[in-house]
Subunit: 170 residues, 3 copies
């Protein structure tokens, strides 16, 4: 059974969200879905709608693009299993909002071990391609890689998804 902290990494369309939902819904519901996506354009709206359409009954959706620590703290008070989908968009939002990434990440890392409900976090692995041309993309993948390492260190379980199948790293 999934308890504690689970980190699910993988590339685009690797089955991360589906695996996360399976792990969470194997626990007694209702479940809290913290969605960090912001729909800036039609393509993003489509992607969000597709994700929502795939989710079963019994989910309480919380949209929180930025204050992930606040959303997790509120969810923890209800003692319900929580899915955070995803860390990568949250990080993007933090950077776009001009907030201090290291400080925001540190607050999250401080919070996680103290949570009493099971929490499953989804993150996109973005560091396995050619070094990006632009500085912001390089900075972004540095931040993402560091955040994943920090969460993996305190996680109880870490999965790396490919083609819908998990490799267990921890």
């Amino acid at each position: 059974m999934t308890t504690g902290i689970t980190l699910i990494l993988g590339g685009a369309r690797s089955g991360k969200s589906r695996m996360a939902e399976q792990l969470v819904t194997a626990l007694p519901g209702p479940w809290v879905y913290i969605a960090t996506a912001q729909a800036f354009d039609a393509e993003m709206q489509d992607r969000i709608r597709q994700h929502q359409g795939g989710r079963a009954e019994g989910w309480v959706t919380v949209e929180e693009p930025l204050d992930l620590v606040a959303a997790l703290t509120r969810a923890n008070a209800t003692a319900r299993p929580v899915l955070v989908d995803c860390l990568t968009l949250w990080l993007t939002n933090v950077m776009l909002a001009g907030r201090e990434v290291e400080a925001e990440a540190a607050k999250l890392i401080d919070l996680l071990p103290g949570l009493t409900m099971p929490v499953v976090l989804v993150g996109n692995e973005v560091g396995l391609g050619i070094v990006p041309d632009n500085r912001l993309s390089r900075l972004f993948r540095d931040h993402a890689g560091r955040l994943h390492q920090d969460i993996a260190r305190i996680a109880d379980k870490v999965l790396f998804m490919a083609a819908g199948l998990p490799m267990q790293l921890k």
Copy 2:
């Protein structure tokens, strides 16, 4: 021994094709090589020639950039082991030809479980870098990821290659 459906995933120059050829040639020949590559330019011709040069005697090569289902159906009638190299170029060809990707992929997924000869399919994992700038690339990696997941679900064996070495996902 390799029977049924095997999916071999990996990045560029990860040893996918070589592993696929090893698995197929461990079975009694002759073997059918379904090549989906189309040589649009000199660089691509070079890449195709290098791949061909590396293959041993005993292979019957079928060039089929688009109608993979037809090529597999014909190959199945001969009861020979088949290698499909690769799904990624086939998907590219389907998109460039303006065909409906979901429909073409569905036909392939319908066909595969009914084949009686062993079949090894090679696919490029392309979803582990930074989100691409252009919409077509994003669409492409969505299609590729979904296709790999669909094939992995019905496959008997799934390998993820890195530096010429396999990780068995299934």
Copy 3:
């Protein structure tokens, strides 16, 4: 205990260097650090400084952007454990210097099995994103993939890092 040749692959910020340092410093020191990075700009100087700052006492640092074979041969004479960080920058330097990559890689592959000291080599996996737009990047990831395969073939141990955690490929 780490002896012979170890290859550590992974994406950006996957914890490759830290893992390499852990393996090397588990052996009796002092240890030789062969740094292949060249600081062309402020960003690169920053990255190098961060890496250096993280290293403990007991390291002898050798900066060698191009003549890796010579640096390894000299280090071998001292019988000290060696860390090469990283193959990817070395390959970049070889290409930028207009040297023949295949010939330089062949010299390295010839040298490695004869070394008597333990050597840990770090490489960036760059082949798991969308096919790059420009020819040089495609060429680079072909070279990197082939080099990793060649080293993996003669290595005693191969690790693939993600989120700071190792998957053992060999």
